[in-house]
Symmetry: C2
Subunit: 302 residues, 2 copies
């Protein structure tokens, strides 16, 4: 029998919670424990009753892979620390473009030095959507791809609104208008005495919103509106060779943190099959995400 791969979950917000559940379903992965900034057994959620919860990953014994389920901006520093301990890392770092490239280059060098593998941007966008966009270009190299998000809650936009003075709680919904254009519906719960019109204007002038059609609504309670359902529709019309009008689409309607956590768990398994270095999902063959043997996958899926 193969040895179980021991995986630690670092951070226990939405994604960490779903990562624990996804690990419990994986036949070859074992939850080594959860790492949190503070541990208060009295306030620990009931589902972690039988799970080691620690503040320092060293307390968990041997750990093969750490899933970084913490905010994106804290991910690179945490990854560096874990890699230096000889632990593979997986994250869903979500700042596309140069920040991801720089992070990949820097962590890759460190990972090769310490002999570990790190998988970066292992969520759905970036993540599985990136795989789809690449596959679409393999099939039809010339053309345009549109990524239409939602309807669903945008974490980044919601946080930006919450930072505005007088806003008690906020929810920013991303609504796809088509051809990669989005409308923003922003719901705000205000502190007493706050002027709605002032808040509305601040939102519409914010860098997060000013390029998009934005509607702001005042509501009594944000809590009753929150839902982690999300979706995407990726469309490409392009040419294969010299033949135009090749039409490709990918669509998802999903629980957002559950999907992100599942991708990270599959990437944890894949990390154990890579040579030392840092990887995005485009650089890993699909067979590596699976527990099953390659022959069985080919029999079932090819």
């Amino acid at each position: 029998m193969k040895q179980m791969i021991r995986v630690a979950v670092v951070g226990y917000g939405n994604i960490g919670m779903y990562a624990v559940r996804a690990l419990q379903e994986a036949p070859d992965l074992e939850l080594a424990g959860v790492v949190r900034r503070k541990v208060n057994p009295a306030q620990s959620p009931p589902e972690l009753a039988d799970v080691p919860v620690v503040t320092n990953i060293a307390e968990l014994g041997k750990v093969d892979v750490a899933l970084l389920c913490t905010p994106t901006r804290s991910v690179p520093e945490q990854a560096r620390e874990l890699v230096a301990l000889g632990i593979n890392t997986v994250d869903s770092f979500d700042i596309h473009g140069e920040p991801l490239l720089e992070y990949r280059a820097e962590l890759g060098e460190l990972a090769r030095r310490y002999g570990v593998a790190s998988v970066l941007a292992a969520g759905w966008d970036p993540g599985s959507d990136s795989v789809i966009r690449a596959l679409m270009e393999v099939l039809a190299p010339r053309g345009l791809t549109f990524t239409n998000f939602g309807p669903g809650m945008s974490m980044g936009h919601s946080v930006a609104v919450k930072a505005i003075a007088g806003v008690k709680d906020a929810l920013s919904m991303t609504i796809p208008v088509g051809s990669g254009v989005h409308r923003r519906l922003v719901y705000v719960e205000l502190e007493p005495g706050t002027d709605f019109k002032t808040v509305e204007l601040s939102i519409k002038n914010d860098a997060y919103f000013k390029k998009d059609e934005t509607h702001v609504y005042q509501v009594e309670s944000i809590a009753s509106l929150k839902d982690v359902g999300h979706g995407v529709l990726i469309e490409r019309s392009g040419s294969s060779g010299q033949t135009a009008n090749q039409n490709l689409t990918w669509g998802m309607r999903i629980n957002n943190p559950a999907l992100t956590a599942q991708v990270m768990v599959a990437a944890a398994r894949a990390s154990t099959k890579q040579k030392p270095g840092s990887y995005t999902l485009l650089e890993i063959p699909l067979v590596d995400y699976f527990f099953e043997e390659t022959d069985e996958l080919i029999r079932r899926l090819v």
Copy 2:
């Protein structure tokens, strides 16, 4: 400047024709020539006027990769011959399951002996659809996937009907009914004096058709009905970790041989980046299909 990869097209039916066009669009690939069973310059199609057309691949000088655009049943033998010449091969072998596994194992051994890489089943089903089915299971490991083909012409079914006595020409259309179930619409052009009812009964009792709802129509001319448009809709509803109702879809409306040829051309490029052996698309990272550098792909697509 990088040296061009020299690619030969073996067979010049529908897929071979589109492969030539796709090669002409690739910045890093060079059409070494076309290999046909017989070469008759008087009957050569005008688009091959400036292309070397030969009966023996050795006449084309150095060839890095051969695209096998011949009927599936002749592919394994041709691949063995080319691999023994030290030439990478790419095919769209389309018999799923054991035949593909046996072919992969046998050719893999030969390829390792001769130091070349072969990419098998590089079309759209098997091929890019296999990649999608695998990705869907990465995202939602438990659940059901339905592959719905068409509407579009089925080559295999059309050939089976043409083999029936009295059938001059035939076209079998695959119509998706949903949940992976298909209806067959069969159009037949009959030889004079042939009884339609007899032909209809033969078709409905044929192994290719008897499990599906099949309708047979007699027409004056098949030629006017033929169209290489095809499509697929792949649907999966499954669980990510313990979270159900994750809904994923992939759809295409495409020119069938143009898409197949494009996948083969991308696989030709990828073959030059693999270690010796035989590969399905599930075993090759997406970056390897591209001419662009990995950093540029990550910047653009991740």
